[in-house]
């Protein structure tokens, strides 16, 4: 099993409601932060779904998957309601 850090950064918003599912793990964010999950080495398609601060129309959420300091993949989300997929290859 490998430790993967999932880092979420909110910009131009006060908060969010997002859920990230990757492998059998589910994590939840309402503000910027970092959480870790344990995954077997193989390819995954992570699902990132949720809603931005409804009072902030130019909000951005950046989501990064990091393994041993290396960014596996990342995405910037600008939509106010979204379901995004992000492929990562865990080593």
């Amino acid at each position: 099993m490998s430790k993967i850090n999932v880092k979420v950064l909110l910009q131009d918003s006060e908060g969010c409601q997002i859920v990230i599912k990757v492998g059998d793990e589910t994590i939840h964010f309402q503000e910027s932060g970092s959480k870790s999950v344990e995954l077997e080495p193989k390819r995954y398609t992570a699902l990132i779904a949720g809603f931005q601060d409804p009072a902030a129309d130019v909000a951005t959420i950046n989501v990064k998957f990091i393994q041993s300091g290396n960014i596996l993949n990342e995405t910037d989300i600008t939509e106010d309601k979204f379901i995004k997929s992000l492929r990562i290859q865990v080593k």
């Binding site: 409601q17 390819r43 809603f51 130019v58």
Partner: protein, 397 residues
């Protein structure tokens, strides 16, 4: 509006110069004509300065609906010159110079600077030369649009979102299973590419039909129904927030030729209302009070010698919204307006007047509004019509 006073003033000077050369009779005639013209313009300028209040006021403090705004007015429909203004909230300036302040932990602390907006501009005179500088300050004294954002936590929980993802994950698991096959054959690679493409297209469009073949039709319908229920709740919350009470105080002044030619103060309140049925085409209650001190064009020796007060209240209704971004396409405003000339009244001018005001604004292009205004003056018993064009450019630097 002051530019309308400024032009006759310049014309008067030019006329005086010309008349001196052509004789005293021409001079007297010319001054009389110009006086009449200036008087008429001054009367028109008593009108309120808050045209298109909805498109301006609601955009500025809507919790981040753009932190910068440029306003360009020109005399397409009105005789005269142009005006350029650039406005920004203090937060907007901070984020230019320090992008780390955009992070949510700072964004929350900087809420107060998102409620203060400053502006600078120029009034263009003859031959597009700058005749005056314009400055403005607007402060949101009450801004429930920003403070009410947490409402959506009560309506949408993480488990609600997870319930949708459970179904979609079956599709991504299917795509991953194909991609993770050991020693993939050429058709496995093709199948994997096709599945990945379906997932990507779904992610980009949120068209649940793109998942067809990866999960059952029943699963697709269940996921779609759950997601639409959540997005419906979210959209309702956004509408509630965008219609929350907003009270602003503002100042705007023009300075040129070493003197102030206009100082306007305004206090404005706007709040949305209406039943849930009206949430798509909502109503707004609007009230504003204006205390304006301006330069009397007929008295060039003194400065700021005409003072007017006006108050306006009414209901604004968005009749049609763009399907793409929900922005207003047609708005109608109906209300009443009281005007009082405190100082600097002209001969034959009425000191105070009450008018019924009706205006219909069309968005003719992106951020370009064409308001048709009709007022009924209770003193004169006459209708006063006005057509204007306002180019409202919302740009993110």
């Amino acid at each position: 509006m002051l530019k309308k006073i400024f032009i006759p003033f310049l014309l008067l000077l030019v006329t005086i110069k010309g008349a001196t050369q052509n004789g005293a009779i021409d001079l007297a005639k010319s001054i009389k004509e110009k006086k009449e013209k200036a008087k008429q313009v001054a009367k028109e300028n008593v009108a309120d300065p808050n045209k298109n209040f909805k498109s301006i006021v609601t955009d500025l403090f809507n919790g981040g609906n753009g932190y910068y705004q440029a306003l360009i007015k020109n005399g397409i429909l009105k005789q005269g010159d142009g005006e350029v203004q650039v406005k920004s909230t203090i937060y907007g300036l901070i984020r230019i110079f320090d992008s780390t302040r955009r992070e949510d932990k700072f964004f929350r602390k900087l809420r107060w600077v998102r409620n203060i907006q400053i502006g600078l501009g120029a009034v263009m005179g003859e031959e597009n030369k700058i005749s005056e500088l314009n400055s403005s300050l607007t402060v949101a004294l009450i801004n429930k649009r920003v403070t009410n954002w947490k409402l959506f936590y009560e309506e949408i929980s993480a488990s609600d979102i997870e319930e949708v993802l459970v179904h979609i994950k079956k599709a991504t698991d299917a795509a991953d299973a194909i991609a993770n096959r050991p020693n993939p054959a050429p058709n496995d690679i093709e199948e994997s590419k096709k599945a990945d493409k379906q997932i990507e297209e779904f992610s980009a469009t949120l068209d649940f039909n793109k998942l067809s073949g990866l999960i059952s039709d029943e699963e697709i319908e269940t996921a779609r129904a759950k997601w639409e229920k959540l997005t419906g709740k979210y959209d309702d919350i956004k509408k509630k927030i965008s219609g929350a009470p907003l009270l602003t105080w503002g100042y705007e002044g023009n300075y040129g030729n070493n003197k102030w030619s206009k100082i306007n103060n305004k206090l404005e309140f706007i709040a949305g209302f209406g039943s849930k049925k009206d949430s798509v085409r909502n109503y707004d209650f609007y009230a504003g009070a204006f205390y304006n001190i301006t330069q009397d064009t007929l008295n060039i020796l003194k400065v700021l010698n005409r003072t007017t007060f006006s108050a306006k209240a009414g209901i604004n209704k968005v009749l049609a919204k763009a399907k793409s971004d929900g922005s207003s396409l047609i708005e109608v405003f109906g209300g009443g307006e009281y005007q009082n000339i405190i100082k600097g009244i002209y001969p034959n001018e009425v000191k105070s007047a009450f008018k019924f005001d009706l205006s219909l604004s069309f968005r003719v292009a992106q951020n370009l509004y064409l308001p048709f205004r009709l007022k009924w003056n209770t003193n004169t018993g006459k209708f006063e019509g006005l057509i204007d064009l306002k180019f409202d450019v919302l740009s993110l630097f």
